[in-house]
Symmetry: C2
Subunit: 197 residues, 2 copies
Amino acid sequence: MTLMERRTPDRRKQVIEAASRSFAAFGYKATTMDQVAKAAGVGKGTIYTFFANKEELFEEILKDLIRELRAVAEETVNHTLPFADNLMQVLQRVLGYRDRHALVAKLSQEVRDLGTPMAKEGLEAVERSIIAYIANHLEEPMAKGEIKRADPQLTAYMMLKMYLALTAEGSHLHAPLSAEEVLAHFRFYCIEGLAVR
Amino acid sequence: MTLMERRTPDRRKQVIEAASRSFAAFGYKATTMDQVAKAAGVGKGTIYTFFANKEELFEEILKDLIRELRAVAEETVNHTLPFADNLMQVLQRVLGYRDRHALVAKLSQEVRDLGTPMAKEGLEAVERSIIAYIANHLEEPMAKGEIKRADPQLTAYMMLKMYLALTAEGSHLHAPLSAEEVLAHFRFYCIEGLAVR
DNA sequence: GAATTGACCGGATTGTTATTTTGGTCAGTT
DNA sequence: AACTGACCAAAATAACAATCCGGTCAATTC
């Protein structure tokens, strides 16, 4: 096995890992193919045997990120528990996923500062995928009557927006909230609502 | 009166109105002081007898906008009605306030496309002022037990974010919603919550 | 003489051209 | 057959010139 790895090291994997680090550290635009090749210990041409261009390489990295988030969610969800509990659990785990967030954070900054179209599209793809995932998992509790019936797509969208409002965006209006505060507030505003019962 | 207007036309008002139109039509950066002076039928120097610089002129226009929104809200609110009803009424009126929205829309676009710092600060000022206003008007219904107790500042912030998610931002994910849909969804997500009662 | 004006100034912005960087290729090496 | 890196054209950046615009103030008007 060690010998085999020596003989045929997995170039593709090397490339993906180097690229992943580079995109997270420098963003889309500032990551050069020469750089990735160097970091991967690979000739530049080799990259192009696996990926048609920089764009496709980037999309692969994003797919990995989405896959990973989905996996984290999947292994956290417990279908015997109430919907709200699952939602909270998943959010808590995703919140703690700092390192993987680095790519998202860097891309967000790049969109703000440089406006790189590719970074913007990438973030939108991640966002769409998260919304689709949540929307999917909304249908069961709705059918079961655990939560009210509503357009799952729109509901998932609103959930994400509220989550982001509590974590990322609102930094300049309310002091950064702790993970527990985020969870408590999310439950309060999103699930329970302001109306008295 | 007509004669008096002829004799001492209100230069300050002329300037403010011309500037207001120009900021709404072209944004902060693309509005030049020469242009404003021309449109106001006034020498450029005159502007500087009322406003120290372009920035102050802009801030005055924003103050006017905020004052106007506040006035619309104030004359709509009926303290004998339930909180949720008032909220809906005010939203409905603000939603229909197309002309005044023009300035906000233009500034939003300018922040997106040009990143003009002054436009960004201006929008944030408007946002802060709206949040402060809502927060103020949350305390009474909270005290009366009409809605649940919570940090008014944060609650107001979440309300605005939800409103914006339903109207402005979400254009690329859900088709633009009609005014009625926005109101219905806002009531659903913000007031009632997803939990079944 | 108070209010108003517009030519004028310098710093910022925009347009232009020269230089460098970088995504992608492919002849040659291993 | 897998892999490499010198090479190319196009895109990005830097350097510089030309223009624009916020702000001032001496001259003008009322």
